[in-house]
Amino acid sequence: MSEPSQHAAEDSGPGRRSVLKAGGVSAAAVMMPLAPGGAAHAAPGPSAAPRAAADIALRVNGETHRVAVEARVTLLDALRERLRLTGTKKGCDRGECGACTVLVDGRRVKSCLTLAVMQEDREITTVEGVARGERLHPVQEAFVARDAFQCGFCTPGQIMSAVACVEEGHTGSRDEIREWMSGNLCRCGCYPNIVDAVRDAAREVRR
């Protein structure tokens, strides 16, 4: 997991590389889970001087990671390319498909539309973080039971969106579920089964 990244987290122009070099940070330095006490690292305070790269703390699935990122790196790219949490998918990279959905402080967002530096010290939950040990989240169980996917590419985003949708209580009817799950597209057209799965999960969670 701590292998140097083969992929640049962004279009790897010379600019990016030189900035990271200048900062003396190698990709291998990424993904260093800190002990909880070690997280007491200075967030760029309000008046921090503008800069093109920063050493930030990202709290993902309960662990704090120190990661050096350029300001232009999206949360999605930081998760996938730097923290190697590849469950979160990149579909459109434009906010249109929902494959990159994660929770930030419990609310669902599209990680391709926010910068990693903007999410410093927020509580981020990805699909890797919803199961409790070996026990799947009720939404995951329901997706399996209802066969709510074919290729599976949209599934992590669907699951994260569904976790939030159930939490929000927008599951009163099939129509309500369809409306509140509309930010997640499925190229395989598994919508009927996805709606079934969200309904089942909502019932399970409410029990």
């Binding site: 962004e10 279009d11 122009g13 600019g15 990016r16 900035v19 760029p44 305070g45 309000p46 008046s47 921090a48 001087a49 503008p50 800069r51 093109a52 920063a54 350029e70 300001a71 232009r72 999206t74 990279d93 434009r94 906010g95 929902g98 959905t101 609310r107 669902r108 967002v109 599209k110 391709c112 539309l113 926010t114 910068l115 530096v117 903007m118 969106s161 939030a164 949708c165 929000e168 927008h170 369809r178 409306e179 509140w180 509309s182 930010g183 997640n184």
Partner: protein, 327 residues
């Protein structure tokens, strides 16, 4: 995205000072439009100042007005009890915007400042006066199904994509800002600009001026309001046309009426002509038809978008029918 410097502002004054000091500096709030614009290369900035953590998220009612902090999210505003109860047109416009995830991220200020979805604007390489003044407008003779039939010019026919702005236009909202020269207030009517010969100037803001709040007068008891959005799919899509109506009826008679339209013009389109055709008259098939005629009287379709002329009339009829019947 090109490299840029990033800073997080702790106070509004600080954000304004930082952006004002750099010609290509800009604010980021939710990031849901800015990131796309920078990824597409439609905009480049060498400084991005993060205003998302500024304490401008409050929603407060006082003196018959609702003041909404510019950093309040679309989701929080849409579901706020006062907005739901007193300003249905606004709540509906927001709930029919974008997707739940985007509404959790996007701010009210950013929403008003989002830029057009014109595909030529967002694809550098095509002629576009908005992106590159003087380069021409590829949409005039190109793919313009989504473009404006009202208020455009021979320099630009792009539509403003915000649903919220249409509702705010009908509600006569006020935008509060903080600029390098201090605070000021701008009526929503003067906030967005028609393209004329300068389509790159879209609003009244100066460089470095931060929207701090949006203020909406709460309608008197008896006023009804509604938002109707027509789009290519049932959800998660921009408007082909939309209509915001705020009316006070006295039996069948229209006492007060405000009508604004989206998807048809480069700015949220208030139609004084359509309002005049209804004010003081009974809401009937005939008067609604006349209002529709008045609305599109000066319409100028440009090829693929001609259907919008009829569609917006039908949207007006539909929204008024529903409001008229509502108890």
């Amino acid at each position: 995205m090109k490299l840029f410097d990033y800073a997080r502002a702790g106070r509004p004054e600080e954000a304004v000072r930082m952006v004002a000091a750099r010609t290509t500096g800009t604010f980021v709030a939710g990031g849901t439009d800015l990131l796309n614009l920078m990824k597409d290369g439609a905009q480049t900035h060498d400084l991005v100042v993060d205003v998302s953590r500024l304490p401008l998220t409050g929603i407060e009612e006082s003196g018959g007005r609702l003041r909404i902090g510019a950093m309040a999210t679309m989701a929080d505003v849409a579901l706020h009890p006062v907005v739901r109860r007193r300003l249905p047109v606004m709540s509906q416009a927001l709930l029919q915007s974008a997707s739940p995830q985007i509404r959790n991220m996007a701010s009210i200020g950013g929403n008003l400042l989002q830029r057009t979805r014109c595909g030529y604007f967002r694809s550098p390489g095509f002629a576009c006066n908005k992106r590159e003044p003087g380069s021409g407008c590829a949409a005039l003779e190109g793919r313009n199904r989504g473009h404006a039939v009202l208020g455009g010019s021979d320099h630009c026919i792009a539509v403003h994509p915000s649903d919220l702005a249409v509702a705010l236009r009908a509600l006569d909202a006020t935008v509060h800002t903080l600029g390098p020269d201090g605070p000021r207030s701008i009526g929503i009517a003067g906030f967005h600009r028609a393209p004329g010969t300068t389509p790159h100037r879209e609003n009244a803001l100066r460089h470095g001026e931060l929207v701090t709040a949006v203020e909406v007068p709460l309608p008197a008891p008896g006023v009804r309001s509604r938002y109707l959005k027509v789009r290519d799919r049932a959800s998660f899509e921009f408007a082909l046309v939309s209509a915001a109506a705020v009316v006070r009826m006295d039996g069948r008679t229209v006492r007060e009426v405000a009508l604004a339209f989206g998807g048809v013009a480069p700015l949220p389109w208030r139609s004084a002509e359509a309002e005049a055709a209804l004010r003081g008259r009974a809401l009937t098939d005939t008067t609604i038809g006349e209002a529709g005629e008045a609305l599109v009287g000066r319409a100028r379709p440009r090829g693929e978008n001609a259907f919008k002329v009829e569609l917006v009339r039908r949207a007006l009829r539909d929204v008024l029918d529903r409001l008229g019947r509502q108890r």
